[in-house]
């Protein structure tokens, strides 16, 4: 798994690539919670993410919870079809906003 981040004018974008499983999710947890702590608007870009397990989903849930507690905005974008199916089955779509790309997520934050 590889993580990078990018600062837009009104949001922080975290790019995650590779596999997000029980081995790699602690790393993302540390990274993402710290980003949510310091930025009110966070987008997680999954363009290059190939796999996500329950452990990875849990990290996103924790980040969303933390963001909500801080009255922040948290969104995901660019899910591959198989990943989108996991998110849909998990019920994430009713908890976390999912957008086609980072730009539309950013616009949704502004609207």
């Amino acid at each position: 798994m590889h993580i990078t981040d990018e600062t837009l004018t009104d949001a922080q974008v975290v790019h995650v690539s590779g596999r997000l499983d029980s081995t790699t999710s602690p790393l993302l947890e540390q990274y993402l919670l710290s980003v949510v702590e310091s930025h009110p608007r966070v987008i997680v870009d999954f363009t290059r993410l190939d796999y996500i397990s329950s452990a990875g989903l849990r990290v996103l849930l924790m980040a969303a919870k933390k963001s909500r507690a801080r009255s922040g905005a948290f969104a995901l974008c660019a899910l591959k079809p198989a990943l989108r199916e996991v998110f849909e089955i998990s019920g994430f779509l009713s908890i976390i906003a999912v957008h086609p790309d980072a730009e539309s997520a950013r616009q949704a934050f502004s609207s």
């Binding site: 029980s22 329950s54 849930l61 198989a82 996991v86 998990s90 019920g91 009713s94």
Partner: protein, 546 residues
């Protein structure tokens, strides 16, 4: 004449036992929740623990009852076992209160008290929620002392009977026999204080000499240890440590008192008997002092042993991490006597079951750990679940408090859902095992399993944290999936191969997948139902309840 004497003794003992039970039952009802809260604060300081233990022993008149309350609290994780140990030790000292009061001449007081309580009952005070326990405890005190009077009056003529004098002369020569009589009677009566009070009553009418009384009291101490040993034979780990501590307390005390007795009688060194003669001229008061000194010597010796005694019982019964999956770790029979703590124990036991739910998916998940074979896991969890169900049913039968009753009913509903979750998860995993690894439907089913795993983990976390935000997230995850499942069933992922044999296999896989999605829907519904059952208890978790 003998028939009259025996009838009087028998009736006296009967009234005495009724009195002890009434006092304990009503005072416990009055102090249950407050006592538990007091214990949690009181065990923080040794002096407070001493006061608390003495008070608890005086109120319940049973060190075993105090030991069991402490075991409940320690098992529920509300206090550390080693902090509860001094409370159990000092409860022994507290039980001396009854023995001391029994030596007072309160004949007229008891008659007036009984009259007053009788009048109060005539005016239906037992229907009053506010006063019924006070009236019940006072009735117990009256009946207890009236019973003692019967025993004293019945026993007084015994000493003039030749047969009794012969028996006492014979038993007086055999300290071992009297010691064993004290132990056996305590095993039957379940209280060394009770047996000691009767021994003191016998002494007061001149039926026992002081040496004979000492032997009965010391024997009662050993009987008390044996009775707790039998009652806690099925326990292990932390609660067993407290039983062992109480056993050690009694054994050390008995050994020390017997040694002092031997030194005093054999070498004429003035010790216990000299001390009690200095304290009082009245032989029955002297006998009562022996009981108190016995408890104080035990407390002193274990206080000196301090950390070594604690380490010894911890070594003899080390805390269990996962003694066995099939054994309940929190609930046990005696906990039913304290409904409030019993419910906390049920919650802890159910939390433990929730923690194991994700383990069912190990077989069908890429990241499964396979720590325990599923049949073993399922058999063990179902067995514990049934024990919880039985425990709750018994709690329901015994409970009269409306607030507690609502909590018990919710605990029962949760347990029923847990049972359904265990069976459905087992069926779900069975179904998925039939899918061909690597096939598109297998991969789709793997996504179902990851989602389900997340919901089960979130459920366990929601109950553990007791936070409404966690519960809201769980309810968000477990919304209605009917439409989504219909879509997944109707649009199977593309297959690479085709042909007759492949088609048959594909249809079989689709049937399995269909079954799995039905079970998945049911599991999501059960998780949601369980979450909804948590809502009313959110403000009443063990940590936050007043």
């Amino acid at each position: 004449m003998l028939v009259d004497i025996l009838a009087s003794l028998f009736a006296g003992l009967g009234m005495f036992f009724i009195g002890v039970k009434l006092i304990g039952a009503h005072l416990k009802q009055m102090t249950g929740r407050r006592f538990r809260m007091l214990v949690m604060k009181g065990t923080a300081h040794p002096a407070a623990a001493a006061l608390l233990g003495s008070l608890a022993g005086a109120i319940t008149q049973s060190t075993n009852a105090v030991a069991f309350i402490m075991m409940n609290l320690a098992t529920a994780g509300l206090i550390e076992a080693r902090r509860a140990m001094p409370v159990v030790g000092w409860a022994n000292v507290g039980t001396s209160a009854l023995v001391m009061v029994a030596t007072l001449d309160i004949h007229l007081f008891v008659l007036y008290l009984l009259g007053l309580v009788g009048m109060a009952y005539y005016f239906n005070i037992d229907k009053s929620t506010r006063y019924r326990h006070i009236a019940g405890a006072l009735l117990g005190i009256s009946v207890l002392f009236l019973g003692l009077e019967f025993i004293k009056n019945g026993a007084a003529p015994l000493k003039s009977m030749a047969e009794v004098r012969d028996f006492l002369a014979l038993s007086g020569q055999s300290y071992v026999l009297l010691f064993l009589i004290g132990a056996v009677l305590t095993l039957l009566a379940q209280s060394s204080a009770t047996v000691s009070v009767v021994a003191v009553a016998m002494t007061s009418v001149g039926l026992f000499t002081m040496d004979q009384t000492l032997m009965v009291i010391y024997g009662a101490g050993l009987g008390s240890a044996a009775s707790l040993w039998l009652l806690t034979a099925n326990l292990r780990g932390t609660p067993k440590q407290l039983a062992l501590y109480q056993g050690l307390y009694k054994l050390v005390g008995v050994a020390a008192m017997l040694l002092l007795f031997a030194l005093e009688n054999g070498l004429d060194i003035p010790l216990i008997k000299a001390l009690i003669q200095w304290l009082s001229n009245d032989i029955s008061v002297q006998a009562a002092w022996v009981y108190l000194l016995f408890q104080l010597v035990s407390t002193l010796l274990l206080g000196i042993a301090g950390e070594r005694a604690t380490r010894l019982v911890e070594r003899l019964s080390p805390p269990t991490q996962e003694e066995t999956l099939a054994r309940p770790q929190f609930i046990y029979e005696q906990a039913l006597d304290d409904p409030d703590t019993a419910l906390d124990l049920v919650r802890s036991e159910q939390q433990r079951q929730l923690g194991h739910l994700p383990d069912y998916l190990d077989e069908v998940r890429e990241e499964g750990i396979h720590a325990t074979p599923r049949p073993v896991l399922h058999g063990a969890l179902i067995s514990v679940n049934r024990e919880i169900a039985t425990f709750i049913t018994e709690l329901l039968d015994r409970n009269r408090d409306r607030d507690d009753l609502n909590r018990v009913i919710r605990a029962q509903a949760r347990n029923s859902l847990l049972s359904d979750l265990l069976d459905s998860l087992n069926d779900y995993t069975d179904a998925l095992r039939s899918l061909t690894p690597g096939s598109p439907l297998h991969e789709r089913a793997a996504r179902l399993s990851e989602a389900l795993h997340l919901m089960l983990v979130t459920l366990a976390e929601a109950q553990a944290s007791g936070e409404s935000t966690d519960l809201d997230l769980l309810l968000g995850l477990t919304g209605d999936k009917a439409e989504l499942m219909e879509r997944l069933r109707a649009a199977p992922p593309a297959h690479e191969s085709s042909g007759g044999h492949a088609m048959a296999a594909r249809l079989a896989e689709q049937a399995v997948f269909f079954h799995a999605t039905v079970l998945f829907e049911r599991l999501v519904w059960l998780v949601r139902r369980y979450g909804l059952q948590l809502r009313p208890d959110l403000n009443a978790t063990p940590e936050s309840r007043p």
